[in-house]
């Protein structure tokens, strides 16, 4: 496993040490009754997250992502191993952890369903015992940045999915947490809503240095938001490192899309590259190559010996494909 160097700025509150520390964490479900089968949802996972990091926690359905989040927040008790969130044991110090962390469970609203959105913010500010003036400023700012001014008077149940998700995130950030945990924040959102949400999160992190832990199915979220990825598979940590590193680990190929000046024969003989597709009588050709063995420049040089290049694009590996390969290889080991 690769562990890149993380540039970790000190946290806003100045508290030293990792913001999340998980050691040999195990969590089983069931198995108490005689008939029920014991299922291991989290299987000896260890990782640390430093203040200021942005980490994508990815994996298939049932891989153990949501269980890990519940363990981090003190909603579930570990079967074995240790959890420290903001330096605290969340089972013993749930309330102190809750003060410093903002959580969004993608498909479960934390807002007051039957009240105008504005009231959810008022109630949450009171729950976190925020100073009223400070709470007003913070709300106004979040509402402005997330462009929700028009929905403040709308009952939460009448918001669109995209509006609701932005409201959930504003609600989770209201008390200016050190750590923001998002469980599938973009699930079901349209392209534009996803885009706006990601832009907001990038901005929020740049301004406040909030640590981000994100579970998602959407590789776009990870690519745009995260400098580090954790891949879980069947409860085990399959990868911990950077996104490019992930692609390199599983040998995912990058893709060169080359537009040529005139119809050309299929370029099957380029060293280090593999012809994937030929379009428009050879006017556009797609060549895949392994970034670890050769470079885009080397491939281009070879191509230009054979034809005149008019335009080109490099496509990064499809991360879903990368993750699929990880699953496939670990399934092969079992």
């Amino acid at each position: 496993m690769t562990r890149p160097d993380h540039d970790a700025p000190t946290s806003p509150t100045g508290q030293a040490g990792p913001i999340i520390e998980v050691t040999n964490l195990v969590r089983d479900y069931g198995g108490l009754g005689r008939k029920s089968r014991r299922v291991r949802a989290v299987d000896h996972i260890s990782f640390g997250i430093q203040p200021g990091e942005a980490v994508g926690y990815i994996g298939a359905n049932g891989a153990g992502k949501s269980t890990t989040i519940k363990l981090l927040m003190g909603i579930l008790r570990p079967t074995a191993g240790q959890v420290r969130t903001c330096g605290l044991d969340p089972m013993r110090r749930r309330i102190d952890v809750a003060r410093q962390v903002g959580v969004v469970f993608g498909q479960r609203s934390q807002l007051w369903w039957d009240l105008p959105l504005r009231e959810s913010f008022t109630i949450l500010a009171a729950i976190h015992r925020l100073d009223p003036a400070a709470a007003r400023d913070r709300t106004a700012r979040l509402v402005d940045e997330l462009e929700m001014g028009g929905q403040l008077a709308t009952p939460v149940r009448s918001l669109s999915l995209g509006q609701r998700m932005r409201a959930e995130i504003a609600a989770a950030l209201l008390h200016s947490p050190r750590l923001l945990v998002l469980d599938e924040p973009t699930i079901g959102l349209d392209v534009l809503s996803k885009q706006r949400l990601r832009e907001f999160l990038v901005e929020e992190r740049r301004e406040r240095g909030t640590t981000l832990l994100l579970t998602t199915h959407d590789m776009g979220d990870v690519e745009r938001l995260c400098s580090r990825v954790l891949v879980v598979d069947h409860g085990r940590l399959a990868y911990d490192g950077t996104l490019p590193g992930l692609a390199a680990t599983v040998g995912a190929e990058r893709l060169l899309v080359i537009d040529l000046a005139e119809p050309t024969r299929p370029l099957q003989d380029v060293p280090g590259a593999r012809l994937v597709a030929v379009e428009s009588d050879g006017l556009r050709q797609r060549l895949a190559f392994d970034g670890a063995r050769t470079t885009a420049a080397a491939v281009l040089t070879e191509v230009s010996r054979r034809a005149t290049i008019r335009d080109l694009a490099v496509e990064e590996p499809d991360i879903e494909d990368v993750v699929r390969r990880i699953y496939a290889s670990s399934a092969g080991q079992r």
Binding site: K70, M73, G74, I75, L76, I95, R108, S109, I123
Partner: protein, 266 residues
Amino acid sequence: MADFTPYRVVLRSRMRAQLQYRTSFVTDVVGTLGVGLTELAEVLVIFHNVDVLGGLDFSAALLVFALSNVCFSVADMLVGHLDQLPTYIRAGTIDAFYVRPLPLLAQFMASDISLRRIGRLSVALGALGVALSIGDIAWSAATVAIIVLTLVSGTAIFAALFTAAGGLQFYVVDGAELTNAFTYGGAYAAQQPQRVFPDLLRIFWTFVVPTAFIAYLPAVAILDLPGDHLAPSWLAWFTPLAAVLAWLLAAGCWRAGTRHYQGAGG
């Protein structure tokens, strides 16, 4: 001093939400008013046919009915929604409570208030007024003290029953029927003259689920009735103690319930 602002803000918003839909609110109030009147009618019908039930005459029985109903209505209004817990568990919304920096039980208690129960409460208060004015009561400071202690402690006992039932529902998610046996069953038992029950049941409703303390024992003391071997009139003074014990039990049930949830998971 503890700062109750968060709870006040939540409760205020719950009330506003309920009052927002006037028609539906009024309908609900009429509904609980109907429930209260039906229960009262039961007492009236019985005493239309008999003069004495379980050693109590009509005014004494009405006092028992009124005390228990006032306490139950208030407790039901404040924490009756704890039996909605399985809904929260199934929908996963319970997790939202865990990630807020307040004690879980306090959050659940403050998460709703059933203003519609005001219908039933007003029937009970009316009955209490009538029972106290027609009853043969030698008024003294002690009488007043017993009435006040009873109303406060009785409400606390019912609230404890709801809380204990809530704690048990972490174990049996479809256990509303089971736990209602203690809450609504306890309410029914509380409003009966205890001597209509066989001794074993009376012991249960006095010393296990202490609903006899909510109305029957205080009524015996207020009206200065002779009492009997299971209900000496001095026992009424132990109503606050019964409330404390009920709350110890309730806190234990709740704690065990939340720990079970953290162990078993949603």
